[in-house]
Assembly symmetry: D2
Homo-oligomer: 388 residues x 4
């Protein structure tokens, strides 16, 4: 288990270090610094996928989300805001049904378990969350072999998938591949996404072999604004799709798993077996519903603002921009020492939070706080002299 | 999966039917009836273990529970209100550590999994939640054989446990019993509890065989006020103890699993594998902490009030009281037809909610709402003429 | 694991103690006694289901069974004697296909695993081998809940099965019963069998619920000669049927699992997963084929001889015969002390082997050695004076 | 499942095609060819690890192996030849105990299951039998994640193992590696072996992490005669070691798993759970004991004869020899067309069996039949003109 100490190392909490490399912004949980508190409500945070908020303000946020709706409550995840959220996501993703899940790990695990059935051979990207970050739950709880494949988010994935099918079919005891799980965007690849065309070619192979397709789309909606992206279209090749409720939609926890009626019915059963049928999920569901309102439109604007900022930075001395392949909301700025020195302090005094450069490489992550200040204001703190 | 329709049948929602036989009061999720709304805040509900509240009032309840505490937030169940709750329960139950779990099912399943290890033979009461209500999760996820034993909550349990050990040791391939899971109070036995002395004798057998002991104490604190009951003493014979956060403590969901340091560390790992590491648990933890304040004292008063009511009812014509063996907060009133007729309507007009008699047998469940009205007032509605 | 010491206690090896209560006759493995060796080849053994033979004579027995057949060999259980045996059993049991298995435990475990699929609720007799003697393999390897039911081999089984279905369907999370496994004859019930009519009524319930039916017929062919018994007819209600190859057919080990084409195909896969695909099975298959020739006819004669012996014994002083319900090849003789005293010695000097009476109760097990001597000769040793 | 048809394709059975690429020589199971039968007893087979024998001669071989030993029989794998074989292998491998297993797959699966316990992360070579040829049994039956690593049999294995440990320890939920399984010689790498020094460095990493070490030494004794090889020394770094009984020792099936007392005790339990406790294993054990007599010495001579043959061939026109890294009993001859043409026919008429060249590459596998003819005689058939 990740110890408290390790957490604090990964997520140094203090006025100037809002960033959690691998985790959403930890600010909300941070003690207010002694000197001068950050005005969390107005900062631009170039770290994290979500808008940082203080935990103690949860009641007010819930008040706004519930808005006097007497029917908000659910009972063991039936009806209320949970039912409404499930319905809304089913529509958004173009699936027959959707089920609330307490975590993305459970959503992923249940999806691949159902898709595999007795064909316990699962192909997945070797950088994927299911392979790396779910503590071997796939084999441990479901007896499924998670077979890591190369290719990341690129077109090379198609060949890797095909090779895995070919290899097995030549073995004396040929394994049937029960499911392919694809993550997009991939967190461990800086939010890189897989092109729909690539996915469609993999889905073709899957279809020929009666293999199920699962999308770990935890951060799927961060693709909003990418050219040609539409959640429903992107979800078509997949039998099941998971989307996170807390990474950028504002819920304290939770996930959605969408698919056809029969599979989602079964998923609710398996959710119970996994101990996932919490008594009331409406606090999370109500906030996610609230966050979902116009999210796609807002995030398309975030994307545009991000592009503008990157263009601006690219033209500044001592800064080079490195783009992520088919990137969603992350880019890397490569900074000369004279730019990097004092950057975090300059930013902070302008209510802007940046991460910590690693050998001059600084990850810039765009979220809705980017819309709080003009591009020029943000770019200015990247000028070595703070003037730009 | 329990369908919505089945739920509504079990939990007929309307002004006069607040009761959920098997589930906590469904009132909060109910639409306000057209005619004349129940004043939920002042009713006495002789159904359910908890105080019914309207879901839409959650923000206000959270506001009171958080009380401006800037450090209430947790991160993946670390620190904040979650950490505080874990510490408080560890103390209450006299264990080294405790871990927040999203559900009681997960708490139970993780506990027996850890206790059993490779010795996959688990003894449990055949009426227990682990055996009947967790959808075979024990074998399905953990490969453990849940062996049902007779005896309910009585002293006969000791002989059943001993017989199970004897039987296996005579087999050609003797099984080692990895764990014994006892539920107390037992929901399917109307809240009947097992005497500490009986538990101690079972723990003796367990100890001799290196067998772990788990308490499904979902409703443990409902024993508050029973003679000689003290949570810490009752927990001593058990290696792990689960207590619910939502059945009577006011949280929207959640559970606690307490035990020694090593086992609870391991439990946090397994929680992650099960998909139970929700992003933020503090909304539930903060409310549970709030509900826990002085809970034991309040429920001892509930118990006394219940005893007074039962004594009063026992003396009334057409009513016979049947006690549950070592009962916690439930008793059965056996009613003549002339008492039963119109009882629910008489009660309702006095802001009292009673269940639906089944062949004259009416379950009376005591919770904190019992303290809202004098015993005499409540008893009066049980009088055939409504005068008492 | 059963230790060597425990084995030797259960199977006291020596000239006068051929009997293995729970196991087939251990004689073959016994050292020749110092005094006067038993002429194993001509004894009548009223213990064990099979004909005892000395292990060192295996080559001669194989020679007779192979009989110069150049195509006897198999390769990983394909073709040769294994293929021939599978074909023969498929015909005998009226199924499409049959697969050789190294053990009955594996045959049972694979059958219930395939029948259950994802519906991991298995009903079985609480005295059955699958429940008691396979070291919890059902949950441990296949995550299936083996639910013990009452009724043994009697008509009461029907009600138990129905009750199990009813109970689950009323639970909030109704379990689907994936399979029913019935053992007949039941070793732990002295070879008692279940009537075909009872089985048909259970199969009706199963069919209505889409539940699979498995027969643990390890000793099925010992029913040969029972009124109306025919293996094919008896197998009809079952989807899968296991029959032992070593308990009475003379193979050193092995089992057959029969069923339809798809299930047996799948069973061969799962056999490989379980590590059951031995390189060559023909030594066992060839001997089983040999033993199978005219087995039914021979055992019908054993049965008749057994009946004659029981009738004779029942008329003798100091002996009472207790029949097993729908018994196959076992009956119990209740002996006065004067009959029991010296019985084993009297028997032995007439080359007859009997078990050890337990409080005057002596199990008489009939096998093909019964045909070696006239009924009167055998009965005589039961006379208190050895004259009869 | 491998179908009969597929088998026949892989193992074309006929006078000139004795070779089974991946399987031991299929000759014994082959129908005698119409034209002129091969004198199996005197051929030199440059294919397969074992000495081909006709299946129908099994009785004679058993007669020689049992040699009138009255105590050869075992009972459920206790005592008799099975006990003797277990003892002999324990000594040979320098371990406290050893258990007979029906198959190598079961031996491997049980070993890694026991070594892993609850730490379900297993490192193994991506070309290994456990990873490729056991139909995902590791996750399917034991919930263990089989993590494929690169490096084959080379020193690069050390870095791969270290990298796997490093990667996991940096993850938020660090996995503990329960076991490392190494195969040597590796069948899918033409019998290449891992140097003891490499193994010792891996064992060092394992020890530091409390990780178990398993050797899939199915073909371990084929290393006899390699410089410095000694089974006991090679086995030292491993907690458990599996050796096959049928690949070159002449048993019809079976495997040995050796290790310390506690683990092998446990392995016998798990063997029962897997359905591996066959009734009598002595037919296999007796033949393996027989084959084991002086095996090491004989195979050292095979190795020397192989080296002599390779030296001879290397000096012949149109032949190039490619050695396998740290090869055991396989080398590759790269043949000019004029050598390859008619080679199999020339060989056959000299009672020598060779495989089928693949694009001029011919695998030469050495087994005990190599000692039947002088090197020069064998080499001669490789001469393009058959004169050499």
């Amino acid at each position: 288990m990740v110890s408290r100490r390790e957490f604090l190392q990964a997520v140094p909490i203090g006025a100037l270090s809002l960033a959690a490399a691998a985790h959403p912004l930890a600010l909300a949980a941070a003690p207010a610094p002694a000197e001068k508190p950050l005005a969390v409500e107005k900062i631009v945070a170039l770290v994290g996928d979500d808008v940082p908020v203080r935990s103690m303000y949860l009641p007010q946020r819930l008040e706004a989300a519930i808005a006097g709706n007497a029917e908000v409550g659910d009972l063991y995840l039936h009806d209320g805001a949970v039912g409404a959220l499930e319905k809304r996501f089913a529509e958004l993703l173009g699936k027959e049904d959707a089920a609330f899940m307490p975590t993305g790990t459970m959503a992923n695990q249940i999806a691949v378990r159902i898709l595999c059935g007795d064909r316990r051979h699962l192909l997945l990207q070797k950088e994927s969350h299911v392979y790396r970050d779910e503590e071997d739950a796939t084999p441990v709880l479901s007896g499924i072999n998670p077979v890591p494949i190369d290719g990341g988010t690129s077109e090379a994935l198609v060949a890797s998938v095909q090779a895995a099918f070919n290899q097995r079919s030549k073995d004396p005891y040929p394994m049937e591949v029960g499911a392919i799980s694809l993550e997009s965007p991939v967190r461990r690849l800086d939010g890189s996404t897989t092109a729909l065309d690539t996915i469609l070619r993999i889905a073709d192979i899957a279809k020929k072999n009666g293999t199920g397709m699962h999308l770990d789309g935890a951060r799927l909606l961060l693709m909003s604004g990418m050219e040609g992206f539409d959640p429903k279209t992107y979800a078509v090749p997949f039998d099941t799709v998971y989307v996170s409720l807390y990474k950028y939609l504002g819920a304290p926890f939770g996930a959605i798993l969408a698919g056809d009626k029969a599979r989602i019915d079964r998923a609710r059963h398996v959710r119970h077996i996994f101990g996932g049928t919490i008594f009331r999920g409406y606090p999370a569901a109500a906030l996610a519903l609230h966050g979902l309102d116009h999210f796609g439109e807002r995030f398309a604007r975030v994307r545009a603002a991000g592009e503008a900022l990157l263009a601006k930075l690219a033209g500044m001395p001592g800064i080079r921009i490195e783009r992520v392949d088919r990137g969603s909301n992350i880019a890397i700025a490569i900074l000369d020492a004279k730019v990097a020195d004092g950057l975090r302090e300059r930013a902070r005094s302008a209510d802007i939070v940046v991460g910590k450069p690693d050998n001059g490489r600084l990850h810039l992550t765009f979220n809705e706080t980017l819309l709080r200040k003009p591009t020029a204001t943000i770019a200015k703190v990247f000028a070595a002299d703070g003037v730009g």
